[in-house]
């Protein structure tokens, strides 16, 4: 693993340059990303918005280093991404907690994988406190509700103090009320920890409530259709006139006349 600076300088700068990617399905190439370029400044919050299955999640997998892009370059603070690294973490739509581990052991997974010996349990407990799950350390995942499981997944990422958090529709499977609560939670964590955040979602309001900038992707192969800064201050309200106006504009771009 590469040596990381001893003091974390907040969020990372993410640069994506002309990335194209295709899946091989039965020998035929199915293009999913078409020359996508974007930059996220350190500590920024950008949302990628687009229809389901347009290749947004693929872009996050490439940034996470789980797969190399077919074309183009991805760099963190100028260094090209060559593989997965705990400073760049992905939170999936499914919490994918390990059912055989307690909540605490799930959260400590990254520390364990990186060979951090000392203070693993206390750091895991601190991360659980951060997401409001004190007292659940000894519980097994099948005893948790969907929202709680997703909080554990957040804690599992945050305990590693990532500089870039990739959120792949993390709230997609939650009920409406839990979803609102979790949006507030993600916002609070981002403001507190100052990591760079890249959120993939197909919920226009979610993107507008959370992100400083919303990038609208077209259908497959996904290319950037529009980039809209969200000038409203946090915490934002759904009925804020600026948000309402942006929402209408985005739905127009996506072809959903209102």
């Amino acid at each position: 693993m590469r040596e990381r600076p001893a003091v974390q300088a907040g969020g990372a700068r993410l640069t994506i340059e002309a990335v194209s990617h295709a899946f091989a399905i039965r020998g035929a190439a199915l293009p999913v990303l078409d020359r996508v370029s974007l930059t996220v400044k350190p500590g920024g919050f950008v949302a990628l918005l687009g229809p389901s299955g347009c290749g947004k999640s693929t872009l996050l997998r490439l940034v996470a280093g789980l797969e190399p892009p077919d074309q183009g370059a991805i760099a963190i603070d100028g260094d090209p991404v060559e593989g997965p690294d705990p400073s760049r973490l992905l939170v999936f739509q499914d919490p994918t907690l390990y059912p055989w581990r307690t909540v605490r052991a799930n959260v400590a997974l990254g520390l364990e994988a990186q060979g951090v010996g000392r203070g693993r349990a206390s750091r895991a407990d601190a991360a659980l406190h951060l997401v409001g799950l004190d007292g659940f350390a000894e519980v097994y995942p099948h005893q948790l509700s969907g929202g709680m499981a997703q909080r554990v997944a957040l804690a599992r990422a945050l305990v590693n103090e990532p500089r870039l958090l990739l959120l792949d529709e993390p709230l997609g499977k939650l009920d409406a009320l839990t979803r609102l609560a979790m949006q507030a939670e993600i916002l609070r964590l981002w403001q507190e920890k100052r990591f760079t955040a890249l959120l993939v979602t197909h919920d226009v309001e979610e993107a507008l409530v959370l992100a400083e900038r919303v990038i609208v992707l077209g259908d497959r192969p996904a290319a950037i259709r529009a980039e809209l800064p969200v000038p409203a201050p946090y915490p934002r309200h759904r009925d804020d006139p600026a948000i309402v106006r942006l929402r209408r504009e985005i739905l127009n771009i996506l072809g959903q006349q209102t």
Binding site: M1, R61, L89, T96, W100, L109, Q114
Partner: protein
């Protein structure tokens, strides 16, 4: 016990009855059945001279009296009392079965005598021949433990290796497919002249019988691990050994235990056949020996002991599984 669907649907068993308010009929009937067995055994004349009739009859009487004494206080004995209540219908049926057996053999000699010995003849075997019977259990257990451990460990390691490495899979898969389905007993003649002793040959055969299901199920467990588990671990900085030891193996453990269970069943088959045909010790050998001497009571005694041994070993395996897989929901109760 509580693994059936009915456990959830049937109305809860009534709370233990207290005092004389509700006479504990179940336990009283069970006690009466055992006393009836004692009466028939001790009271009726016998067609033959059987030395242990008194022991058997007295045993039945003691159990019957104990149940009658226990009946009124069972409600106050906590788990012991509840257990007696739970099993008393079984105890009653068991006593009636013994009674029918006793009557049909020792009393009216309905069934031909050497092939169908009365229950007291089996009691006699346990009393007179226990050193040989005990030695056979030990011999069987030693052989089984050796072969099963080797087979399970090899099968587990091979299964993980096939699941984790393409190269190992390439070479091992065809061999496994071709040789695996062969019944391990088919190797018997070959094993007995290839191996230096019948004991090592039998160990090999037991290991083979255990190894095949353990390998296949471990492999399928590792192959079936949710790919997202690996993605999570990889982004968190996991090495390849971490992915195998801390992700693939724990995720595959439920499958591994199915393999260990199937392997244990297969190993019993091979154990008994190997002992019957080559090894001069163990319960399989004892069965063969008893049959050779027309000592049918000994044969039945050995069968009972064998059933107890196999059942206990499976129970033990399930206990280990329950401890290791406590995180799983809806485990089958053995």
């Amino acid at each position: 016990m509580s693994g059936s669907i009915t456990a959830g649907l049937a109305p809860r068993a009534a709370a233990p009855t207290r005092g004389w308010a509700h006479p504990p009929w179940r336990i009283l009937i069970a006690g009466a059945a055992w006393l009836a067995l004692a009466g028939v055994t001790l009271g009726l004349p016998e067609a033959d001279d059987l030395p242990e009739t008194t022991t058997f009859g007295a045993g039945a009487a003691v159990l019957g009296l104990a149940l009658l004494v226990l009946a009124p206080v069972a409600g106050r004995l906590g788990t012991v009392g509840q257990r007696v209540r739970h099993w008393s219908p079984w105890l009653a049926v068991l006593a009636l079965a013994f009674l029918a057996w006793e009557a049909a053999t020792a009393k009216i000699a309905l069934l031909p005598m050497p092939f169908f010995p009365p229950p007291q003849a089996i009691v006699e075997v346990f009393r007179d021949d226990w050193p040989r019977l005990g030695g056979s259990i030990v011999a069987s257990l030693v052989l089984l433990a050796g072969g099963y451990t080797i087979g399970a460990a090899t099968g587990f390691a091979l299964g993980v290796a096939i699941g984790a490495s393409r190269a190992v899979g390439y070479w091992a898969h065809p061999v496994l497919r071709f040789v695996g389905p062969l019944p391990p007993t088919a190797w018997l003649p070959l094993a007995f002249f290839v191996f230096p002793s019948s004991w090592s040959a039998s160990t090999f055969l037991v290991a083979l019988a255990t190894g095949f299901p353990v390998t296949v199920l471990t492999w399928s467990g590792v192959a079936g691990v949710n790919k997202a588990y690996f993605d999570v671990a990889r982004t968190l900085g996991a090495s390849r050994s971490f992915l195998i030891l801390r992700v693939a193996i724990p995720a595959a453990l439920p499958h591994v235990f199915v393999g260990l269970f199937m392997g244990l069943g297969a190993s019993f088959v091979v154990l008994v056949v190997a002992e019957m045909l080559g090894v001069k010790a163990g319960l399989g050998w004892y069965l063969q020996w008893a049959q050779g001497w027309a000592a049918y009571a000994n044969m039945y005694a050995a069968l009972i002991v064998m059933a107890l041994m196999c059942s206990s070993l499976i129970t033990l395996l399930f206990r280990v599984r329950d401890r290791l897989l406590a995180w799983q929901k809806g485990l089958v109760q053995w």
